[in-house]
């Protein structure tokens, strides 16, 4: 018989929600174990390589759903390792949104004002800094110049990249081999480890059950380090409290699978999923017009042709983030980079006579790839995503050894969501087709549905038990001692990149979670420190136990 381990706090997932919880609870004196489904890679293992099996596929997940596909991180550090580190705060009006429920969907206690101190803390810990114009890569500069030419405004966006170390290689999605990107591997996770937290990679949590003492038993299996479809062993760990932070595509699935052992879940578990209203447009820039109309030029007589150079989204226009506009008409537009392999298949040919996303004309469009400019919409969707019955393990039926899987999410965009997309498509076109600068087409939704890198809201906080799975302290309703601190807790789309808001909410939840842990007999205090001197590179512990 295998014995069950004991810990005070068990954290599931090591992205923003998981790492922040692990740090504060460990710093406060609790025994913390983090189970993470993906591998643990450090800077020297991040490859600039598209070959299957390199870090690009090892640390990434692409989950196909019905009407919506999700991209997320799959490694220690979660989405922070693959993300672009663009870190704006959400605008004030977001917290007043009503969305599909017809009344304010955020808890009364959460406003931009009440969240600002928590935003400040995360901004200090990573850190997040402003980007200056002379650090803005060509693509962002081009987007800014086009916005300006069309009478719009544009801003360099706050970022967690240390630009003094950045080489503008645009390989951020495979992990930053220069550690210029301030992922969680450089702050909260090493901070947690220095206070005794243990991180176990390649451990996928399947479900939870309740023990007689009111604590929980966490059931996991270990994942093969090459073929993630293969699971080797299974095990259990008992904890006084459990923090779920597996991401908005996985947290509700673990809870759904736990219904058999834990009893009924709140109605909102696995419902109200939001893709952050995301939408992509690709413009094919006319190099001559970029030179003549916008007056841009770079080395060797080129005007732009710099799609490959840079570092993800750096410049956004916030002209439509206007509190006076009706809901579903507000959005931001940000320039973005997707590497080939993921970022070309969905781009469509303007005025295609044959199929628009494959075939002869599409190949011709690919010849102009260096002159592509991709624009990313983040708008107000309708929280219309719903998760169906969970797959046998994890949150997807894995198709490939790594990266690709089929999940149970269904997303049927409502009229409201489509309206926001249409308005933003029209705005992108107005800016980028002005004076013949380019031709623009949105990415097709026909191939893999809509597409999100910002899954949110599948297990959200709120004051109303009918429409929120968590109370405003992030505790799962009717299941005391289980907390959710990741993107699934965010009530709705944010109109900007979400990681800073997810992190700020996790920071905000910590004093309450520490209190709850104390009530459950854990000797822990809320210290309120931030990872600092103790947070060098997250070194892997020699005691690492994979089987």
């Amino acid at each position: 018989m295998t014995s069950t381990e004991q810990t005070d706090v068990l954290v599931i997932g090591s992205g923003f929600g998981g790492a922040i919880a692990a740090y504060h609870l460990a710093a406060g004196g609790a025994k913390v174990v983090v189970l993470e489904r993906g591998p643990w890679l450090t800077a020297d293992e991040f490859d600039q390589d598209f070959e299957i099996g390199k870090s690009f596929t090892r640390i990434f997940d692409f989950t196909l759903g019905e009407g919506m596909s999700l991209l997320s991180g799959n490694c220690v550090g979660g989405g922070s390792v693959v993300y672009f580190a663009t870190m704006p705060r959400a605008p004030k009006f977001v917290f007043e949104r009503q969305g599909s429920i017809g009344r304010r969907m955020w808890p009364a206690s959460v406003t931009r004002e009440s969240l600002d101190p928590w935003y400040d803390r995360v901004s200090e810990a990573l850190p997040v800094t402003m980007t200056s114009w002379d650090e803005v890569p060509y693509a962002g500069g081009l987007w800014a110049a086009a916005c300006n030419h069309a009478g719009r405004t544009a801003n360099p966006v706050p970022s967690a990249v240390d630009v003094s170390m950045c080489t503008n290689c645009n390989w951020m999605m495979a992990g930053c081999k220069f550690d210029a990107k301030r992922s969680l591997l450089l702050n909260y996770l090493p901070g947690a480890i220095s206070h005794g937290a243990e991180i176990r990679p390649l451990h996928e949590v399947q479900y939870l059950s309740r023990n007689d003492d009111g604590g929980y038993r966490v059931h996991y299996s270990t994942v093969d380090e090459v073929d993630y479809r293969v699971h080797h062993t299974s095990g259990t760990i008992d904890a006084k409290i459990v923090i779920l932070a597996a991401g908005a595509g996985a947290t509700p699935v673990i809870l759904q699978r736990s219904e058999e052992t834990l009893g009924a879940m709140p109605h909102a578990v696995g419902r109200y999923f939001s893709g952050n209203g995301e939408r992509l447009n690709t413009a094919v820039m006319n190099e001559d017009r970029v030179r003549d109309v916008l007056g841009l030029s770079r080395e060797n007589g080129l005007a732009y042709a710099a799609n490959q150079i840079g570092r993800g989204p750096v410049v956004a226009t916030w002209d439509h983030l206007d509190a006076n506009l009706p809901e579903y008409e507000r959005f931001s537009l940000e320039q973005l980079y997707f590497p080939p392999g993921l970022g070309t298949i969905l781009a469509q040919v303007p005025d295609a006579e044959g199929p628009s996303w494959f075939g002869v004309e599409k190949k011709e469009l690919m010849r102009q790839w260096p002159s592509w400019l991709t624009i990313f919409t983040m708008s107000e969707d309708d929280n219309e995503g719903v998760f169906g019955p969970p797959p046998p393990t994890g949150n997807a039926n894995r198709i490939s050894q790594q990266m690709l899987g089929q999940g149970a999410l269904t997303y049927r965009p409502t009229k409201n969501t489509r309206r926001g997309w249409d308005l933003s498509d029209a705005e992108v076109r107005e800016i980028l087709e002005k004076d013949g600068l380019s031709r623009v087409m949105p990415w097709t939704n026909d191939v893999v549905g809509a597409y999100t890198v910002h899954p949110l809201s599948s297990c959200r906080i709120g004051d109303d038990p009918e429409t929120s799975a968590l109370d405003e302290r992030h505790e799962l309703r009717n299941h005391p001692g289980i907390f959710v601190t990741d993107g699934s807790a965010v009530p709705g789309a944010l109109t900007v990149n979400p990681a800073l808001t997810i992190a700020a909410l996790a920071e905000r939840a910590m004093p309450g979670i520490v209190r709850a842990a104390r009530e459950r007999g854990v000797a822990v205090t809320y210290v309120g420190s931030l990872p600092g001197a103790d947070a060098g590179q997250a070194t892997r512990t020699p005691s690492l136990d994979l089987v």
């Binding site: 705060r89 935003y119 500069g141 081009l142 300006n148 199929p355 190949k363 010849r367």
Partner: protein, 176 residues
């Protein structure tokens, strides 16, 4: 051969020999096949290897049905999908990848891997692909790394302010 013809419908290329049957030869320069689509699909990492034969049988079945419906007579010396003229291969793929087609997932999956072979040479190390003049990476104009094999772009910025900021930008650089 059928798999090649499918990949060539997604990213078409030029014929390898004048009597190449799988590649329709409707585009200048290498397409998905020359870029390694079949190699990629057959790698264990793709997870599709063992199913490919079944998929191709299904595809040829669809091609036969399509030909009957369009009153096309197919050359029986090659698989049915290969025997279809390029515009008909395209029309069939449009049908198979349509929103409401029950096998859509399969055909989209194969299309994604075909495209990936072309634009990122995912079946081999990227440095080797670039050194060997991989047709897809060449077509998209993917820039080479520095001599040590690492990508760095020391010149990356127009280096000046290019727009007015939003008037309600806060001190932290975020929207208000």
């Amino acid at each position: 051969m059928t798999l090649e013809a499918y990949a060539d419908t997604i990213v078409p290329g030029e014929r390898r020999t004048p009597d190449d049957r799988a590649i329709a030869g409707v585009s200048v320069g290498g397409g998905a096949v020359a870029s390694g689509a079949v190699e990629l699909l057959e790698l264990p990492g793709s997870g599709l290897g063992e199913m490919l034969e079944g998929f191709m049988a299904m595809l040829n079945g669809h091609a036969e049905e399509y030909a009957a419906e369009q009153s096309l007579t197919l050359d029986e010396s090659v698989p049915a999908f290969v025997a279809l003229p390029f515009p008909d291969r395209t029309a069939l793929v449009v049908r198979l990848t349509a929103q409401d087609h029950p096998e859509k997932g399969v055909w989209i999956g194969l299309a994604m891997f075909s495209n990936m072979a072309f634009d990122s040479a995912a079946h081999m190390p990227t440095l080797d692909a670039l050194a060997a003049g991989h047709p897809g990476l060449l077509t998209i104009g993917y820039l080479k790394p520095e001599p040590d094999g690492v990508w760095r772009f020391p010149r990356f910025s127009y280096g000046r302010a290019l727009s007015q900021l939003h008037p309600h930008t806060t001190a932290t650089g975020s929207p208000a």
